[in-house]
């Protein structure tokens, strides 16, 4: 089962050359990934732009451009996305404030109300 928040407790960790954070899709259905506009992150006040963040969906790695360019890739509502963020130094052991903004285009909502933006901030722990 996933966490109720968009930003998942599981998956926040240092990785080779950066860190990772996992999101669930807070929408009511899965989506074709060419409806995505991306996710931007802020960790401890440091911003990471949407187009610098790598995606992993169900074991497959993508860039944001690849997801937006694909006619077949999907982000299911019950499958979390792992975001991989390049960073010079690993995050320190202890608390970090993690904020995420997810932007998704909704065809059935008029253009002037685009995109739908979900935003959330959590305080998560790096253990090592």
């Amino acid at each position: 089962m996933l966490d109720v928040p968009m930003i998942q407790t599981r998956g926040f960790r240092n990785s080779d050359g950066g860190f990772q954070v996992r999101l669930r899709l807070p929408y009511y259905r899965g989506v074709w990934t060419n409806l995505l506009e991306g996710v931007s992150l802020t960790v401890d006040g440091e911003e990471y732009a949407a187009d610098t963040i790598g995606w992993t969906l169900a074991g497959t790695d993508y860039t944001l451009a690849e997801l937006v360019g694909s006619d077949t890739a999907r982000w299911p509502v019950d499958v979390p996305a792992t975001l991989t963020v390049p960073r010079g130094e690993p995050l320190s052991i202890g608390f970090h404030t993690v904020a995420a903004e997810l932007r998704l285009h909704m065809s059935y909502i008029p253009e002037e109300l685009q995109p739908t933006i979900w935003s959330e901030e959590r305080r998560l722990v790096i253990t090592r």
Binding site: M1, L2, D3, V4, P5, M6, R24, P26, Y28, R29, G30, V31, W32, N34, L35, V68, G69, D71, R74, P76, V77, D78, H105, S107, Y108, I109, P110, E112, L113, Q114, P115, T116, I117, W118, S119, E120
Partner: protein
């Protein structure tokens, strides 16, 4: 009339506190006999579920004595930020009609992209729908766009749908009525992940209250009702949807389709299950449903 539940009701609990099995068990447990799903949410590996998943689907229907009612689909008209073509819309509709039929559904609700601020559907809807009518007939499903707030009944959109039925003479296209259209006041959903619609300062439209009597003229073309609701209070009262008036009209007219509950109230663990039970208790005290 028969009572069902749409799994839309469990949004934010599906996958977090409830599995698909749990949701379906909950629908049966609360006494419903109809089951509605969203293809893109609830079908594992949509649009290509495994045969094992399909077998499990029918095993659940049989175990819990549930009838598949409506399958919700989408025609996303601005994928990749460009307008959809008729061929692409046809392909999406065909995918969902085939999948819905495989899973035993009688109704397919395509949610169409819009092209104007007042929610006019993308004009591809008409040629694309016309091209899949034969498939709908072959698969024995009815395609039913949804009349959903902030759309109203007396509108060009609904007139166009009725003219389409008239012109084609089809029996595989009808209307889905979402009871949110009749809301007498606006509910502001709380809880869940905070969201906003754009950063351009746009606001959802102001919509006049739609009288239940507006339903009279179109009811013969309504094949399915999504019994949208927001909150039933601790005295079993709904202050948003005029259930008695609505149910009395359906009863008087002898309408005999499914009322498929769509809970769209505040988020919170366990809220959907509780609110759905409140709504079914309320509906059963107000009308004679099976």
């Amino acid at each position: 009339m028969k009572l069902g539940v749409s799994l839309y009701s469990y949004t934010s609990e599906f996958g977090t506190t409830l599995t698909l099995d749990d949701c379906i068990e909950d629908v049966a447990d609360l006494g419903a006999s109809g089951l509605e799903i969203l293809g893109e949410a609830h079908v594992e590996n949509y649009p290509s579920p495994s045969t094992a998943w399909i077998d499990a689907w029918f095993a659940r229907l049989s175990r819990w004595e549930l009838t598949p009612t409506c399958y919700g689909s989408w025609v996303d008209t601005r994928r990749g930020r460009r307008p959809i073509t008729v061929d692409e819309a046809v392909a999406q509709l065909e995918t969902d009609i085939r999948l819905a039929s495989t899973l035993g559904f009688a109704y397919v609700r395509p949610k169409l992209g819009v092209v104007t601020d007042d929610l006019e559907p993308d004009p591809v809807w008409e040629p694309a729908t016309e091209r899949v009518l034969d498939l709908a007939a072959e698969k024995n499903v009815i395609i039913c766009p949804e009349i959903h707030w902030p759309s109203v009944i007396k509108s060009k959109v609904v007139d166009d749908y009725l003219a389409f039925i008239q012109r084609t003479g089809t029996s595989h296209f009808a209307l889905l009525m979402d009871t949110g259209v009749f809301q007498t006041s606006m509910h502001r959903r709380t809880g869940g992940v905070a969201s906003r619609m754009g950063d351009k300062g746009g606001r959802p439209p102001e919509v006049p209250v739609v009288p239940v009597s507006d339903l009279e003229d179109v009811l013969d073309h309504v094949c399915h009702v999504q019994a949208k609701f927001y909150e039933i209070d601790d005295d079993l009262q709904d202050h948003y949807i005029p259930w008695k008036e609505f149910l009395d009209l359906l009863t008087r007219r002898g309408w005999d389709g499914w009322l498929s509950s769509e809970y769209e109230g505040d988020y919170g663990v366990g809220r959907a299950s509780d609110q759905l039970r409140r709504q079914h208790a309320l509906i059963r005290t107000l009308s004679d449903v099976r």
